[in-house]
Amino acid sequence: MALKGAEIMKMLPKTNCKECGYATCFAFAMKLVAGGAKLEDCPYLDPEVKAQLEAAMAPPIKLVTIGTGENALSIGEEEVMFRHEKTFFHEPGIAILISDKGVESEIEEKLKRINAFDFERIGQKLSINLLALCFESGDKDKFEALVKKAYETTEFALILISEDTDVLFSAAALCADRKPLVYPITNENMSAAVPKLKEFGVPAGVRGASIEALVSVTSDLKDAGIENMVLDPGSKNMVEGIQNQTLIRRAALKKGFRPLGYPTIAFPCFMYPDKFKETVAAAALMTKYAGIVVVSQADEHFILPLLVHRFNIYSDPRRPMTVEEKVYEIGNPDEKSPILITTNYALDYFIVSAAIEETNMPAYLCIKGTEGLGVMAAWTSGKFNGEAIAEFFEKYGMPDKVKHRKLIIPGVAKKLVAELEEDLPGWEIILGPLEGSDIPKFLSEEWTA
């Protein structure tokens, strides 16, 4: 937020008419800053002043939407440089590049593979977001055929890439209702592009050779009435990309510099011919602020690390993913069934419960509330130490549920063994495998009541 309450106050009518629902204009101003009140609530605001205020109060990084409906991608409106300061809000889009230069059957194969992607993690579907269709063949018909095919046979949001501006917009005309991102809009093609951008109402992928060059293009586009932009400062490699995107975000957030107040796009696909490097660069560029990364791979083993990476970095640090503390009974356990314990960090629960289900062996899975901390962090902070686990056992009556006296604890919690032997006298403490995926083997080979 660029304006403070006192600055807004100066621009209000200062009549304290209360018609906005607040006791004074000052209270209204404060509420505007904090969020909750809208400028429209003041019936006496001069339209010109209202426009000024709107501009000044707009988020420092504009929210830009590409695509429509369920598959629309919204990026921007980020508020911090570091996720621990608050959180990152809008997951970056992952785009897969498809060139029209390829053989038709290969293109078809690639589209099929992408359509068939099906990734899931902790009960959430993970998905790529966009197809980046690239005009390289020199044959306009070929490119249009590709655009049509992607438009008709997939539901992804689209990016259109063409150095030939005429071809770019003739392709945009074919899929304008899906609101594709058209790229590149540059200093050179701007005057031809502006009327088309307005006609189709599509967002502009703006390219400059440097941040300075970008600033002049976005300023001119803004003056020409273009609002929705995604920025490419022309980074040539990963490190340059990180640096450019850091400066762009910092200028927008910390300096309120409007010409750079848009999300960014990065092209690892053009930076590295090596597919491993491309993937690592994409992960890095997503971490450091890209709104979209474009990769060339449609190989699930290269896409999964990126999806999981984004999932991690964009998870909300203010709300650790947790499950309820309780004893989960998996498959009707009885007095001879094993007891396993772990934390209520959602990932721990999902990994261990899935592994137990895989064995078909009924079991008690004790989930100790640790405020979402994993095993070692919870141990350090006293939420998953010998004493805490002994209390849990008491509270949930574990000794009455089974005849044996064996407890399986997470493999990483070696330091817990001695503690628990002290705090749970009479119980044998068994260190489980280090990795959840080894639990089935462990239970079937090691467990006897």
């Binding site: 570091f82 990180i242 400066l247 290269f302 990476h309 990932l347 962090a377 350090t380 330091k415």
Partner: protein, 299 residues
């Protein structure tokens, strides 16, 4: 509107630590800016990239991470040599698995002997990692410190529960240490404070404990970023030690790494790049391909 690059100059430095001895000694840290921010500060040393070896033949390693070492895993000295000579490792981490009290429970003397052999066989700096069991690590690492006097090893981990003994031995015999505090910036600081009462701060590297991609990576990432903010922007001297991340093993235990070689290499490499972006100064890899990939991209 004229664009002025919004640079942020920082007057503080991360401490520079020297690891190993002789010609192949390596410096880490020393930067006065955030990672990759060469546009507004100086980063005198590239991140240290170490390869991991075990003192015992590995059990349950995924075939794709065992494969590069298959001919040498039965002998830590050959394993170390191959890492340096074939894979170009500039630093090694010897993990003393044999000493695990819940496993073989081997003697500190035997472990120190193996460490000495490895340290004599290669000239690159050596990190020596215990089994994360306070009491046993104190016995093992003090013995290693004594037997390998003057090698300037990096002894790890040193925790709240055993720092006095290990740090004292490191001081006496000329080694550096890894101060480990799990996933909490304040605990990291507390441990540094008690250590610095008798131990030189420039010989401390901190380990916030690392998690693999998909298995808690975001916690490690943010704690490293926080520590760097405290150290550089907030000028907290007790937060200015270089940071080490040990994640190769965690990555290769995941089902994602086990099920496919390429995916495994990327699992380790993307975990690595995240920690470098957060500010880590020293990384321990398990797969030489992952190390090579990162090295080519950042160094």
């Amino acid at each position: 509107m004229k664009y002025e690059p919004p640079l942020e100059k920082i007057s503080e430095n991360i401490r520079e630590a020297v690891l190993g001895h002789g010609e192949k000694a390596l410096k880490i840290g020393g930067e006065n800016t955030l990672p990759f921010h060469s546009f507004e500060g100086t980063l005198p040393n590239p991140p240290g990239l170490a390869l991991e070896i075990l003192d015992t033949e590995p059990e349950n390693w995924a075939p794709s991470v065992l494969e590069p070492f298959e001919d040498v895993v039965s002998d830590p000295v050959n394993w170390a040599r191959k890492c340096v000579e074939v894979f170009g490792a500039e630093m090694l981490c010897l993990r003393l698995v044999s000493t695990d009290p819940l496993g073989k429970d081997g003697s500190p003397q035997a472990a120190a002997e193996i460490t000495k052999k490895v340290a004599d066989a290669v000239d690159v700096p050596l990190i020596v990692w215990g089994t994360n069991m306070d009491e046993k690590d104190a016995q093992v690492l003090t013995e290693v410190a004594r037997v390998c006097a003057g090698k300037n090893l990096l002894l790890s981990p040193v925790s709240k529960g055993n720092y006095e003994k290990i740090a004292q031995a490191a001081l006496e015999h000329g080694h550096a240490i890894v101060a480990q505090a799990s996933m909490d910036a304040n605990l990291t600081k507390e441990l540094n404070i008690v250590l610095c009462k008798f131990f030189p701060p420039e010989k401390i590297v901190v380990d916030p404990t690392a998690s693999a991609l998909g298995y808690g990576l975001e916690y490690t990432f943010s704690i490293i970023e926080e520590i760097k903010q405290f150290g550089l922007a907030d000028k907290d001297k007790m937060m200015q030690m270089p940071i080490i991340c040990d994640f190769g093993g965690d990555c290769w235990r995941t089902k994602e790494a086990k099920e496919n070689r390429e995916q495994g290499i990327l699992w380790e490499a993307t975990t690595a790049i995240s920690f470098l972006l957060a500010g880590a100064n020293l990384l321990i890899f398990r797969h030489p391909e992952a190390l090579k990939l990162i090295k080519e991209m950042v160094v």
